[in-house]
Amino acid sequence: MVFDPALAEIRFGTGLSPRVAAPQGIDDMLRRLAGSDQMAQSYPIPRFDGQGGADIREYRDLLKARNAVRDTEAEEPARKALTAQKRKLRQGEIDMIRAQLLRGVMTEDGLRERLVWFWSDHFATAPRSQLYQHSMAAYPEQAIRPHVAGRFADMLWAAATHPVMQVYLDQQRNFGPTSVAAEKRPKKKLGLNENLAREMLELHTLGVGGGYTQADVTGLAGLLTGLNINEDTDMVVRPNYAERGPFQILGRSWGGDPKTREADIREFIEDLARNPVTLRHLARKLAVHFVADQPDEGLVEHMAAAMIGADGDLSAGYRAMLEHPVSWDEAPANVKPPFDFMVSAMRALDVHPAMLERMNPRNIQALFLLPMSLMGQSWQRPNGPDGFPEADDRWISPQGLAERIQWSMTAPQTLTTRLPDPRAFVQVALGDRAPEAVQFAAKAAETEWEGVGLILSSPAFQRR
């Protein structure tokens, strides 16, 4: 069996750290992943079905209250309360970003963080409503994180039916055209909206070329009618809005009576999540993300077979990936996305948690959010539901690389009280993988900050 602790941290974790010991084998990695979620406890992020949602509801109530007293004397105090809550949400957003960074920097279970990032991007959302825009991290905390080592069916149900996903893909506008509610109020012209159905097939499960047709999309949109959000921003299924079935989807008949719609949708999602075409699509995506943009077909098939054999258990796929020798090819492969790059840089620099905990929102913006967006990754705001790109050349454009260089040269100074000696830092950041040119640059740089910047912006560190 091939295994390399440094490569395990670099390729399948969040990077080498002078503080955290690397895993000692594949079993060790999977044991950590199956164990308790230490980072979620150390650096909590409110879940959407917990405080995250409560804060949003509070804001919505204050917004309503303000609108009700417009142009009266009561408007000023109502506006102040609304502004205060808005400030609280913004502060919360910054705290969530801080926690996401800290988890990556401090973790002993790097594979878990990487999987959370990967699956959050697989089920990508972006804010479509001002209510949700400051609480986007509450969605993966609830819908993705608990399921990364479990069954894909559970994650698909949790993510695709989540209120944030529903708002993002217009599901809250998807109504049965001849449902009870539509017939009762014909003036509202309630009708189908296919957006969630399409992306569920195209992106979340079967994939483009997965053999589905427009008729399948329309059928699924019909089955999904009734799935909605209530006033408390919880997911609900309302039979009154559901179109009567059955619906022909992927060669089978699904759903009928609107009254059993929730169970019918769940049954369909269970089936779709275990469809071999879905699991093959997921195997390829995982291999592309973790191993190489053009992954070895043997690796993809090995992973797919493992997940199909395990009835959609994701950990079986991870084990298959980790036990395949091509996953441990020594040559640096994929370019790290900007967020992953920043986390791995801070991990190598051994940035003290207090440094991030003390940082004010303006500094978080200036040090992380703005540079990330110039590198091509607007945090939690991908261009579309297909998430951020995987291809290396999508990240390493002249402008994307310029920003990585700019950040590498400047950010470490503000993140550490004392910069490391570049000659020693080469070994910390790259282990035994430091190319001669990088070792030379670390010695030849005129200043420490340039030396550190050259190491962090080198292809050897930018790839994993």
């Binding site: 217009d170 506008r173 109504f175 055209p177 012209k189 309630l190 009708g191 189908l192 909206n193 957006n195 399409r198 195209e202 483009v208 427009q214 370019v335 303006r362 500094n363 913006q365 200036a366 040090l367 703005l370 967006s373 110039l374 607007s378 261009n383 579309g384 290396d392 050349d393 390493i396 454009s397 002249p398 402008q399 994307g400 690389l401 310029a402 920003e403 260089i405 700019q406 040269m409 400047t410 950010a411 100074q413 503000t414 190319p435 040119a437 990088v438 030379f440 640059a441 030849a444 740089a445 005129e446 900050w449 340039e450 910047g453 050259l454 912006s457 080198s458 292809p459 930018q462 790839r463």
Partner: protein, 407 residues
């Protein structure tokens, strides 16, 4: 180190000498043509039936009355089509012939209605997406086919790298708010550490090249104050967030007044599934501001040699959906502008909006391939050979008759 020494040493290191402005300063002055082309990708599927409203069609009011509020004819263009209110600031341009539209156009993309595939096909310029279609974009293939193209000829602007411009021909990509501050020694060492990785070596050499040519690199005398610099950039970004589209237009105009001949960027926000009236007005206003700025900043001389093509991946449903929006459709419109355009007209072979006229009884029926209009623009503006256009730039395209788009 003196600047001159740096130039010589970077040549000795041999990094991308062909693409280096330091090696070929004369190339900057020469370009294959004098005409200018701006291609804008309208991402999200623009509703052509709303932006250029065929109010003269007897079915239009019934289909779209709920969206338009009815008083469409007041913004009449030619007795049949009317302008969306957000484009009204461009009416003077229309009157001068500097604005025009092609209607009922689409790429060959049919039935799947995915934004991502639709945009890829629009930018790839091919008939389908199988095989090598996603490898390069049609603007890049144009550049591959003509001599004299340098990294300064074409700019892909913004934070997203566009397939339209991707390929083997040199293209500069830049976000207007980027910069790169490096000491000469750090620049040299950067080229050294990136040397063996072609993707990084090419990008770093282009980045330095662009930053240098834009005057962005100021070589610091002392160790820079990182904290201060980080904060300064955060301030600058606030303006960017609010005015991203105007910065793109200003930047494009600045480059096109110099040696650049082609610029491409994206305007987002056209995916109007709900509350379309408000959403499309915002995107339309941005498009109008971009065209207005290009006109103003380029000045009469350069504007007179310019064509702007604003194209989208597909159209939207002819009927309004249950949420005052429209869903993914097929045929749409292309917005064209520029002093070199024979504007003041809408080019269309109008298919009608009756139930049986619609594509799949739901979408505007495309009656012409949008690539044909792009190809005829390249044919007339740059004098590109028709065979080359139909086989290499837009493989598999039949350009058909000349629509006479260009003066």
């Amino acid at each position: 180190m003196k600047r001159r020494d740096f130039l010589i040493r970077s040549a000795i290191l041999g990094c991308s000498a062909a693409a280096s402005p330091f090696m070929t300063p004369v190339a900057l002055a020469s370009a294959p043509w004098d005409a200018r082309l701006v291609v804008i990708i309208l991402r999200g599927a623009m509703d052509g039936l709303d932006m250029v409203r065929p109010y003269g069609d007897r079915e239009y009011a019934a289909l779209r009355g709920g969206l338009t509020g009815g008083s469409v004819g007041e913004a009449d263009l030619d007795g049949f089509y009317a302008l969306h209110p957000s484009l009204e600031p461009l009416r003077p341009l229309w009157k001068q012939g500097g604005l025009g539209f092609a209607h009922a156009v689409s790429t060959p993309y049919r039935d799947q209605r995915s934004h991502f595939d639709g945009q890829d096909l629009l930018e790839a310029g091919t008939v389908g997406l199988d095989g090598a279609a996603r490898r390069d974009g049609w603007l890049n293939r144009l550049l591959q086919s003509v001599p004299g193209v340098t990294g300064e000829t074409s700019f892909a602007l913004g934070r997203d790298r566009m397939l339209l411009m991707r390929g083997d021909a040199p293209v500069s990509t830049w976000a207007p708010e980027s910069d790169l501050n490096l000491s000469p020694q750090a620049r040299l060492l950067l080229e050294t550490v990136h040397h063996d990785d072609p993707l990084f070596a090419g990008a770093v050499s282009d980045a330095i090249h662009i930053a240098e040519s834009l005057g962005l690199i100021d070589v610091p005398e002392n160790v820079m104050d990182a904290q201060e610099m980080v904060m300064e950039r955060a301030e600058a970004s606030r303006k960017q967030a609010a005015d991203g589209h105007t910065m793109l237009a200003e930047f494009a105009a600045a480059r096109l007044k110099e040696e650049a001949r082609i610029a491409a960027f994206s305007l987002n926000g056209w995916d109007t599934h709900k509350g379309q009236a408000k959403a499309i007005a915002r995107s339309g206003t941005q498009l109008a501001e971009v065209i207005g700025l290009l006109h103003d900043r380029l000045g009469p001389d350069v504007w007179g040699k310019t064509v702007v093509l604003a194209m989208t991946e597909f159209g939207r449903t002819a009927r309004v959906n249950g949420s005052a929006g429209t869903d993914h459709g097929t045929g749409s419109a292309m917005v064209m502008a520029g002093g070199a355009l024979r504007g003041g007209q809408v080019w269309a072979d109008w298919p009608g909006l009756g139930d049986s006229d619609l594509y799949a009884r739901r979408d505007l029926m495309p009656t012409r391939d949008v690539r044909a209009h792009a190809a005829w623009t390249l044919r007339s503006l740059f004098g590109i050979d028709r065979t080359l256009l139909e086989t290499s730039v837009f493989p598999g395209l039949d350009m058909g008759n000349d629509p006479n788009l260009i003066l």
